[in-house]
Amino acid sequence: MFKKLFGALTGDKQENQNYETQTSNDNYENNYEDNYQEVEYDPETLHGTHYTVEDFDNEVAERAEAWIADERASGENLDEKDIQNIYFNYRRTVYTEWNNCDSDQMIRFEHANSLKYTGVQTSGFVKADDNNPFLEPVHGVDLRTYTAMCLKISAGIDYLEVCKAMGFEPAVWEELNTIWPQRMGEDTSFTVTTLFGQYYAENVTVPQLENLKAEISEEGAANLERIKSDRYFYEELAGARQAAYEYGIDGAQWILENFGINLADFQSVAMQWMTEQNQNWNSADITEFHDYQQQKQKEYAAKFAAEQGGNIADDVNF
């Protein structure tokens, strides 16, 4: 269940990231001079403060509409998607021009405004809005509390214990655990899913659940601290986990047995790094961490292969 949710969550983002890394790499060579004019950015919208958002939107619309009119005049048949793409591209152009910025700053800007411009949320930028019907509490339990319960359960605490601490019967939990995932599916802006992920990354808790602690060994606690602070160590374990699956080993269980970190904590840290990455977009770092994870995955794969008597095609050589 949680794995599935996270699959959708991180899977989606992964695709997004690849796309964005690629596009930002295109511009990579044309690195801007370090001494470019310092621009002050609005902390919320990441727009430069030397113009208004309205001016920006107007400029984009003007250029986009001119292009669309041109295309139509030459007989092109534009559908909704084409038009969205045209706007998307002009937004990038105008933003880069007006702020004289590099592609990483532009992507950070896109993340901060993804709901406004594309209708889809980006992790690290969602705020709970009381008027959103998708966020209305279910049986008095809001998304934050639901996430806190999920965290305890995937950390290995019996759901009956969690219900008891919350003061309600399992029947209520089963309703929550049906309806919140349903809402995640229904909400096409992904606000519910993304906010769930953000809470997960924050490892949220509520007063009722504070006394419920999953068992963690001393070594596990130390490893957990380390994957939180040392991105390379996190990438190593993420690579190892992936390699484990490729050799028929349940990666979540393997991490628990060998490093003492449970699935909830591991996923939470994964979300933390992802959110951090979205907020401080830097394509050079992303490539670096990605390559490092690949390299570690290979090393662990070799180890798992050796334990299973080698890969079946080891004797086939060029």
Binding site: E175, E186, Y247, V316
Partner: protein, 314 residues
Amino acid sequence: MFGLFKKSKDSQNGESTPEWYSELQENQQRWFAFLEKLEAKMEEFATAAIPELKEIMQSDDDIYKRTFHRVYSGVNGQLNNIREKARDVYEEKVHDVYYNFNSQISVLSKHHDLLSDFRSACSDRYNEFENKYDYWRKQIDKTQERDLETEYQKILDEYEAIKNKFNCTQCGGNIVIEKIFLIQTYITCPYCQTQNTFAPSTLGRNLQNIARNLAEQRTAHMYEAYEAEKDKERDLYHQRHELSLSIIHEKDKKVLHEVQLKMDDLEEQRQFAIKNAPKLHQEYLRAMYDELNKITPDLKEHNEKMYQNQLQYL
């Protein structure tokens, strides 16, 4: 004209071939042999693994089939390993070698063809390998298919068997389970009004997990019809394009006219397919969600919201 022909013939005889050509030939030969061995390995492994996987799928009584998924993931891991092996060797022995020579040999050189032929022969062979990989990958994917009709029938049978067998914990009066409950629920005793908690069995709870796949399986023929209609567009476009190429040098007006008629007909069919595909898609979705509502009527409200969302993306 004749001179050119003679030279290329010479080069094939090996008389005037440059010395690097032997390296290319050797690499090509080895590359072909290497892939052949990998393909044999892949086939041998997959044919041994598929019946095993099917058997584990049957015997794994875990509701999530976790043992099956571990083995399945390990089998795919080996297939991936073989594929990566091919990719690494391709990079080193074909791609890099090609670019290395390409930077030294002018495109205008009479021997440049040897180099491009080397690359296209090797990459064609590589595609062939990739196709085989895809084929085995699909065969292995198929072992994931579960007999959902049988699983569904078991749930229905269990419901029939238990629906009248419960009594109120307070007064002992008979409590009828009126439908398949997906999760825990409160049922009021009709005699003493006590709230009893009913918890469905593991089997019954699984209905929620299999419902969507079952509905999709039952309407798969409609999905295929939609996919086929969607593919028609490209297909008809290419047919028309071929025809248009065939008359580039045609002078006979009668022939031109006939071909033009055929082309118009193809275009008409194509336009129809473009309009018809989304219709078929919607018909499929409606049928699939109807089926889903039949399987899990209690989730109808949610199912319909999902349907409305999907309509937006047609």
